[in-house]
Symmetry: C2
């Protein structure tokens, strides 16, 4: 089976199209799925997919180009950042374990430290100590606070020099599950109802593990929505979250009008929902005809 890893690499340039294009052009031998540049954040999320080796080489080439072209001393933007190449998460998609993504994060991190003289922090599933699992903790203080933060032995990097790179700062390299953005629209205009359902299903308030949720009002569409992030859709599947919303909506006497998946969803996540609702037994992903075109 063809092994597939995705990478949603974040670099700190979201305005200068020529710089963005040069950095994106370094992504060779992988499939670029999305280039999302935000001028206010002054940041680009470059999502690409490929075989593990190709994804690792692309991440290194993109990082080298970002380190070459971005000077964080002159960077302003609305999104927290500590590096020219800021975050490199590796995400298992097909035929790959989380452990393999952790190994890839270690290998890429080691080479960024050694070859680009940029300090590297391993985060999420690749973290070497618990307080580095959370990206927000790793990035706290941002580029401007990095020199001081790194004086603390607790923030010695996993790879690379013990001081920030003068123009490129530091980078967080990690491994995490695929994040699915899933919204459920309700047959009411009372945002309080959406907020109550969100509270009842999200992990933070004792709900389903690996689920984040907010109740929001979409003025333009005249509806209220439970806006959900499934941060580990293989542990807490889509169908389970949807059913939990339906149960809570019924309890509150409102209807579920529709749902939507924002952006991309791995085939395995969707197939698991079909498997559940159709009560399929013994179903294998390679029974999906098109997967045979993905073979080597």
């Amino acid at each position: 089976m063809l092994k597939l890893i995705a990478c949603a690499l974040n670099f700190s340039q979201g305005k200068d199209k020529s710089v963005i294009e040069k950095i994106v052009a370094a992504a060779q031998d992988v499939r670029v799925l999305d280039v999302a540049s935000d001028p206010d954040h002054n940041r680009t999320v470059l999502t690409f997919l490929g075989e593990p080796g190709a994804v690792g080489r692309a991440a290194l080439a993109i990082s080298a180009k970002a380190v070459e072209l971005i000077d964080l001393r002159r960077h302003r933007g609305g999104h927290p950042r500590m590096g020219a190449v800021d975050v490199i998460p590796f995400v298992p998609i097909r035929g790959v374990s989380m452990e393999e993504c952790v190994s890839l994060a270690q290998e890429v991190g080691r080479r960024i430290g050694a070859e680009m003289a940029v300090p590297v922090y391993l985060y999420e599933a690749a973290a070497t100590v618990p307080q580095r699992r959370d990206l927000a903790q790793v990035r706290r203080g941002e580029f401007e606070g990095l020199a001081q933060k790194m004086q603390d032995p607790a923030w010695r990097p996993d790879y690379g020099p013990a001081l920030p790179h003068p123009t490129a700062g530091a980078v967080a390299v990690g491994a995490r599950p695929y994040l699915v953005a899933f919204n459920v629209n309700l047959g009411t205009d009372r945002v309080e109802t959406a907020k109550e359902i969100a509270r009842s299903i999200r992990e933070r308030d004792g709900g389903l593990p690996h689920v984040k949720a907010l109740g929001i009002k979409l003025a333009e569409r005249d509806l209220v929505q439970v806006s959900i992030n499934l941060v580990d859709p293989y542990s807490t599947p889509l169908w389970q979250v949807f059913e939990a919303v339906k149960v809570q909506a019924a309890r509150l006497g409102v209807s579920v009008v529709s749902s939507e998946i924002v952006g991309l969803v791995p085939l395995g996540v969707l197939a698991e929902s079909a498997r559940h609702y159709l009560q399929l037994e013994g179903f294998q992903p390679d029974q999906i005809l098109e997967t045979h075109l993905l073979e080597e």
Copy 2:
């Protein structure tokens, strides 16, 4: 979007491995999904997938090799057949309409007639007259009855000579939807219950269009099953058939234990079930991450 057509070509050799291998080896530039040889039927179903042009070229190359290596005058087997290459159905899988498969059937049929001197009957969606839609009608009389049958002007072939090929007979070339084999297992050992549910859902007895169904007992597994063929799963989707079985089972007081998909299923068929049950709105197949690896 990459266009994909499948072809489940049937040729009349199921015993002689060296002949089967030579014929299968003619399938170039397509993905061979399955080679199912049945010695009792003395017949092989060769399923392959690819872009329309490549599938057409492969069908021609395989047919030429089968015409060269198979002599139907000496062929014995349990399955009805009229040709060395017996049936060539083209099946739309992705980004392709039924009309494009009909065009491909016409082009391949025309070339088989002209280049191999084998008479060709277009069938199912490619049929030129209603009585040729049904493959069983086209094949009635088989190879042995072909010379006489072709004297009837109603059975003049669509392409090729007005007489059977001396060793290769005639071939049916057509276009049809993908057939999904789907079984539902019931929580009872009474086969009559499975038969009653099968009757209530199948087209033949006034049930769902494009659905064939039988109630059977699986002695080895100690269960009864509604064994279903969805002959047009894009018109009558999988979820609709499953829900119909559940309604009938509930009416008869038996439980639905599980279901199973036999063999391969197109991604679009499975995604449509996920879409239905999750109430997804605006969902597009290209939101499935892996489909981007299928692009040209």
